[in-house]
Symmetry: C2
Subunit: 277 residues, 2 copies
């Protein structure tokens, strides 16, 4: 099996891209000609994949959008299609976690049923809950650290008696004792650039999955400045896949993906110039 | 629609039971004659439901066990069967949470696709992530507070600068500002009786879902002593549903459910006697 981090690195190099396109198929926002088809979710996602696969380093289907329509089989087909037709790895965004015997079942769901290359997981249960995921050593296990939503500080920024926030504890353990197989990545929202910088300080070169650009408003140059010093996977979902709403939605998605990829690369190059000076 | 807490209260009264039976169908542990059938998961769960529905106040299917087999349709049929044939409410155990637009999709999965009466959710994202679930006002929203797994202290027992643990913050907010619709319940593991007592102090009479008896070893008199003063839903999964492994598995499950229900009731009555003295 190919290691997820190697897959990401190869795709980044091939497509000169740090962009991950999130697949959040919402029938209420999908083009009308697809929303009414029985396999419209699959066809919508296929259109996005065909139009953007040479501009991204990963695709990230969000399972809730499929599950809300009872469309698990279409999700399976989307992932199968990506694997059969591109070299792009697939992050299943599912934010799973439970006691270890149940986490083992969620790992089977993600990796055996859907064939995902990486999975997002929630750290609230602690390490023993994450272990069954980590044991899939060739898969990327992407732990929530600092999420992009407005209310995320409520739990994640509780400050401990040692002066460490909850998200800093998650970052420290993820870069240390939890990472025995070297396959942990972290979620660090683009909407909190200061915390993103702090996470980078804690985890060194670990690859970060950064949601929150596009519809959520995260600033690309700011996040690149904060995240420099290690790998990044920068996700945009709605701003890309709903860039258009007609029969030309895939062309619109391609234009939006190219623009976002280039904006990210411009921000990276600006830093490189800065370093050269 | 009937309110979840009313459904629980009615079932408790009718069956004189605080026991919830968890439906964790694992083909590796199911009776051989069912494990090989195409709808064996449904038939296994149906057997448990038929054998125990007059001994419980809730059923709690754990979605990971169905998803690991690609058996979402069988889960839908199990819940439909329970609703059509019993008065017992269904807790979908899925531990969901994400940014609010995605949480909305998870809520649709639980309540619209599966027709669950209650759902377990994870508080790591904070309030705005839980809101889309809470807005289903007649449904029970069961937030993870102190989980039953061995490693649960790692994040949940981080002590803040105000001297409050993370799980105490979750309990306080769940009993206060988060509970605008009065439909929050909390998960408090039987394996940590001191923390269970502390949660009861914080939340007053709020109903607690208590996993961890049976296979996980939680002590019933200890947990009843800790949880007194408010509603309880005490879950046992594996110790009931895998009490037998042959064609008589349902009879064995019934015997185990009755024994657990009675052990809980004995512990409750012991406290009542104590109070009377």
């Amino acid at each position: 099996m190919v290691d997820f981090l190697d897959q990401i690195a190869a795709a980044e190099k091939q497509n000169k891209s740090f962009l991950c396109v999130g697949l959040d198929p919402d029938p209420g926002r999908m083009p009308e000609h697809l929303a009414q088809e029985p396999d419209g979710i699959f066809r919508f996602c296929k259109g996005i994949v065909d139009a953007t696969h040479d501009l991204v380093l990963a695709f990230k289907p969000q399972i809730a959008y499929f599950a809300a329509q009872g469309a698990e089989e279409q999700l399976r087909r989307v992932i199968e299609y990506i694997h059969a037709n591109t070299d792009i790895p697939v992050i299943l965004d599912a934010k799973r976690a439970d006691i270890s015997s149940t986490s083992k079942m969620y790992a089977e769901e993600a990796f055996d049923v859907y064939g995902a290359d990486a999975l997002t997981v929630n750290p609230y249960f602690g390490m023993d809950s994450i272990q069954p995921f980590l044991d899939y050593k060739d898969k990327g296990i992407i732990i929530l650290c600092r999420t992009s939503n407005p209310g995320s500080a409520e739990i994640q920024n509780i400050v401990s008696q040692d002066g460490e926030t909850v998200y800093e504890v998650v970052a420290r353990k993820s870069a240390g004792e939890w990472n025995m197989h070297g396959n942990i990545l972290l979620v660090a929202g683009a909407t909190h650039p200061d915390e993103l910088r702090r996470i980078r300080e804690i985890v060194g070169g670990m690859t970060l999955l950064i949601p929150g650009v596009g519809a959520q408003g995260g600033d690309i140059p700011a996040l690149i400045g904060s995240a420099r010093g290690g790998g990044v996977i920068i996700n945009s979902s709605r701003a890309v896949i709903y860039a258009g709403s007609g029969t030309d939605y895939a062309d619109a998605a391609r234009a939006a993906a190219r623009e976002t990829r280039d904006a990210i690369n411009d921000a990276v190059y600006a830093i490189c110039n800065d370093i050269r000076v």
